[in-house]
């Protein structure tokens, strides 16, 4: 562990520290936040002061409190979505690799079609058909994002499926599920874990973009993307408050990317 720490580049160490800080703030949001999530505490757009460190928003809610609650909501939704996307993509990809034949054909062609169009366009289409709501948002983004996980899981699993030890497992009569979980999964876990970080960044940015466009979490909930949108008018008056939630998003994704970048280097053993 200590040796790993020593070989970590400074960017990766910084990334890990920031991610830990976000996790603590998100988990213990009620302890850190001075005011409630939807509590109206003052007048609209109050300037920065001792009582309201970052001022108040369009409705007179404390900006700092909403930033802290937003960590819980925005990051939480993104994590759930990523996990769901991973579940769908990995299971479908592994099944396609293990079963082959028409299962593989149908799933692969379906993914090809979904990836033939930018994901945001399909997301907007699906959201207009299904209507707004957290559940719809999570489901739509997860399904569309699972296509990338599917491709990676299928490609890496294909390489493992042709190994002798998988053949041996088949010959001694192990079932598909046993082969997948005991032979294939442990051998493709490294690239999948790195992919989880990348997918998280992508999903997080997608959800932030959607909530910025007004299609994210429903209004009373604090949500970083929507907070930028709601307070954007302040920018034209030279106030940087609306940039804070956007910066919160950016700092987290940069940190995750730094860590993933380092993990990919380590996994591939590449020097460049």
């Amino acid at each position: 562990m200590m040796r790993m720490l020593k070989t970590m580049p400074p960017t990766a160490i910084l990334g890990v520290l920031v991610i830990l800080a976000y996790a603590v703030i998100a988990l213990f949001a009620p302890l850190f936040a001075p005011y409630g999530e939807a509590q109206i505490v003052g007048a609209q757009f109050e300037p920065w002061s001792a009582t309201y460190p970052f001022g108040t928003d369009t409705l007179g809610r404390d900006m700092l409190s909403r930033l802290i609650w937003g960590a819980r909501n925005t990051v939480g939704v993104a994590l759930v979505t990523t996990a769901l996307a991973f579940g769908i993509g990995a299971i479908a990809g592994l099944l396609a690799a293990a079963l082959g034949g028409w299962v593989d054909l149908v799933l692969s062609r379906l993914v090809d079609v979904l990836m033939a169009v930018p994901a945001l366009i399909l997301t907007l289409l699906a959201l207009s058909a299904l209507g707004p709501g957290v559940m719809n948002l999570i489901a739509v983004v997860a399904v569309l994002d699972s296509t990338r996980v599917f491709r990676l899981a299928r490609a890496t699993a294909m390489n493992v499926m042709v190994m002798d030890y998988v053949e041996a497992a088949h010959l001694r009569g192990e079932g598909i599920w046993w082969t997948i979980t005991r032979e294939v999964l442990p051998n493709i876990s490294a690239p999948l874990i790195a992919e989880f970080g990348l997918r998280f960044c992508f999903v997080f940015l997608t959800i932030s973009a959607l909530s910025f466009l007004g299609l994210g979490l429903p209004p009373p909930m604090a949500d970083w993307g929507a907070m930028v949108r709601d307070n954007a008018a302040l920018i034209t008056f030279g106030d940087i408050t609306p940039l804070l939630p956007a910066a919160c998003i950016a700092v987290l994704t940069v940190s995750v990317n730094f860590v993933v970048d380092w993990m990919l280097h380590r996994a591939s053993g590449l020097k460049d």
Partner: protein, 326 residues
Amino acid sequence: MSAPAARRQRPILRMIVGRLGIGVFTLFVISVLIFLAVSLLPGDIAQQVLGQSATPETVAAFRRELGLDQPLIWRYLDWVGGVLSGDFGRSLANGRPVAELLAARLGNTLFLAAYAAVIAVPVAVGLGLLSALWRGSWFDRIANVATLSAISFPEFFIAYILMFWLSVRMGWLPSIADPGASPRLGEMLSRAFLPAITLVLVVTAHMMRMTRAAVVNVLGAPYVTMARLKGVSRWRVVTRHALPNALAPIVNVVALNIAWLITGVVIVEVVFVYPGLGQLMVDSVTNRDIPVVQACALIFAAVYILLNLLADVLAIATNPRLLHPR
């Protein structure tokens, strides 16, 4: 043209026709998807538009007007037939023909995207080449950290930072970008500069990283080492040995990034209140104005598929080995 030359031309021609076929087929599947996504939704469009208080008779009449009482396949053919002849139906929100709404905005969006692409592609490819050439140097390291950060930023963050500095603090540029019906190209360019430069920053980061990876891949090939060993200059190795072989991946990289450009256009247009297709689509999604959403989705999809097709053809034209896949 002599006979052997014609035969040499034929595989490329056959490939182009084949790709075109695949592209048309993909577009067909996507159009079915776009159509179904809306037709299979729970609840009824007519009921939603008219509200809960509408009598069953008005709902039935409105359904007949929208053609919802027809079978699904018939409706699809009707819709596609309309689209092919330039008729996208009518907006549910204001009853105006969708084609009329699209006409002006499509031009604005294409202008913005082309504006950004013209700046971003040479800059990104150039910088990507340099950082591949000088890999491991301080330039490469700074570029790596900078592009990784830019990729991680939400598009609207970059947009607002630029707006804050360039337009509010410095007062150089207008913060709201409406190109208007200005006849002068210069004025259009300066008005759309802020959204365009935002898109350039977003796209350049992605494109530069991918270009670097593609070129590093080629520079690792044995024939490059061979060329170096026999004493060819560094510059010549890159321009004569590496670049021709890296062209195909670079063309693909450029095409791949059109996806970022399309995603970015939607958000940037909303930030700068730019009257384009992306803003129209977002507004229509919020209002659940389905015919407009369908039309926008179809146009974005068609443009994207077409550009990818073009990239495929260009990639194969620059690297004939790809004509014979293993």
